[in-house]
């Protein structure tokens, strides 16, 4: 089966998921992002690569961080950025997803950044855009959030230098997390020997072991000797169902405290995709502590999105 993300010659045409990307492309994105980090540190934080290109931020689901970092990344590449407030636009008047995209395409769009509650929506758009148009998935349902996965990989490589020999734990609501899925696929493509998922049975996807991870329900056992701890946001809406008794109960068993973190390696880093629920999945003492690289993740996210956009738009 041909990969819908790649051109006939194997170059990146769309970014829909980390799953199925060749290792060389992942490494190319991370290497390019490293060079863009240099750009973001200087006085004029702009390069002319996407001059004259139009980037449409199509967010059908609310997001502040991801939308903003995509917008900053596009602007630093000198693109024109158009943010669409979908909730207040045509879709509420009954326009179909593909009609919305066709209309934007008629306005000379070059890149669509798509977030949608429905898994597969960016794939659907990618199948219908013109050859010169590109789609980047900014999160679709529970399926994938590839640029978050990539910025997590970038952060790990930045602090740990190498993926060989690492033990990485992903903690919390694995079931609903597109962030976890994208990261786990990326870690596996880049050859991380041990990836652990830690959480209650009710928040574990069925057959999660098929992703090549070790499953832990006891957080203390799972954190032992980890190099990297990735905490996931516990979405409040999950508490309403029968999956969890309460936030306090979750915090007691799966919240990251300084005491639990001490079980990981002494130089372990703590990551979180945000937004954080302090006192639920992570304590403030850890979030603001010396192991936390949560804010650098946000900064790296801009360089990673610049890398993805400039590689894709040039192919």
């Amino acid at each position: 089966m041909n990969n819908p993300q790649l051109t006939a010659s194997g170059a990146l045409q769309h970014l829909l998921s980390v799953e199925g990307l060749p290792r060389e492309i992942l490494v190319q994105i991370l290497d390019t992002a490293e060079s863009f980090c240099g750009v973001t540190e200087r006085e004029v934080k702009k390069v002319p690569l996407l001059r004259g290109k139009s980037v449409f931020n199509l967010f059908f689901e609310p997001s502040t961080r991801t939308r903003t970092t995509f917008e900053i990344a596009a602007k630093r590449l000198s693109a024109d950025v158009i943010n669409l407030n979908i909730a207040a636009s045509s879709q509420t008047k009954g326009e179909s997803l593909l009609d919305t995209v066709a209309n934007l395409s008629a306005m000379q769009a070059d890149l669509f950044i798509v977030r949608h509650a429905q898994a597969g929506a960016p794939h659907l758009i990618a199948r219908h855009v013109k050859p010169h148009e590109h789609v980047i998935n900014a999160g679709d349902g529970r399926h994938a959030h590839p640029t978050q996965g990539l910025l997590d990989l970038y952060t790990i490589r930045h602090y740990k230098k190498d993926f060989n020999g690492l033990t990485v734990a992903v903690v919390g609501d694995i079931l609903h997390s597109r962030v976890a899925r994208s990261l786990i696929h990326g870690l596996s493509i880049l050859g991380v020997p041990e990836v652990r998922v830690i959480g209650p049975q009710t928040l574990m996807p069925a057959r999660v072991e098929a992703l090549g991870v070790r499953v832990f329900h006891d957080m203390r056992a799972g954190l032992k000797d980890c190099d990297v701890v990735v905490m996931l946001r516990l979405q409040n809406e999950r508490m309403r169902g029968t999956l969890l008794p309460s936030a306090q109960e979750f915090n007691k068993h799966y919240g990251l405290t300084a005491e639990k973190l001490a079980l990981a390696k002494s130089n372990a880093i703590v990551m979180h995709p945000g937004p954080m629920n302090r006192g639920v999945e992570i304590d403030s003492s850890v979030a603001d502590g010396p192991h936390s690289v949560i804010l650098p993740q946000v900064t790296f996210g801009i360089a990673v999105r610049m890398a993805v956009m400039s590689i894709i738009a040039g192919n």
Binding site: S35, C37, G38, V47, L49, I311
Partner: protein
């Protein structure tokens, strides 16, 4: 076709041609990849006080819309202030002039230098832009369809070679 000149000899000669033009305000920037190798040598020969700057112009190329982004762009590192500086750009081979234009565009995003001059090991002609080098190791004739490149051996020795484009 005459034999290609000896790159090691050219490098030493180029350093001596540059030397009389140095000022206390001079700083050097090499363009990846060949220009960076050459700049490392010139920087040492001339014992410049400022650390060497290295630049990859991948984000400023004018053929991005045709060729896409170059693989593995290196991180540009300019460890001194560009503002008001006498800059000496170094590249291995000067041909169309497009690389130098891109480098100048990138430089101005770091600041406004007092002046920029260009030193190259080999000038093969064929300019497509109004750009010239102030310091040239040698003018080299290159047959049509061939590319002139500077190589560096494992021991660090520089050489010029012709390749089929």
């Amino acid at each position: 076709m005459s034999a290609l000149p000896d790159a090691e000899k050219l490098c030493s000669e180029l350093a001596e041609r540059i030397r009389p033009h140095l000022t206390p305000n001079t700083a050097m920037i090499g363009l990846y990849t060949g220009g960076a190798w050459l700049a490392e040598r010139l920087h040492a020969l001339l014992a410049l006080p400022e650390p060497l700057g290295l630049m990859d112009i991948a984000f400023y190329r004018d053929d991005y819309h045709k060729q896409g982004l170059h693989h593995d762009p290196k991180r540009t590192k300019i460890p001194f202030g560009v503002e008001g500086r006498d800059l000496l750009l170094v590249d291995d081979v000067l041909y169309t002039g497009r690389t130098v234009r891109a480098a100048m565009n990138e430089l101005f995003d770091y600041g406004r230098p007092a002046c920029i001059s260009l030193a190259v090991l080999a000038d093969r002609g064929g300019r497509q832009l109004p750009i010239c080098a102030q310091h040239v190791g040698a003018k080299v004739e290159v047959p049509a369809g061939m590319r002139l490149r500077m190589k560096r051996s494992d021991s660090g020795a520089l050489s010029l070679e012709l390749e089929v484009e």
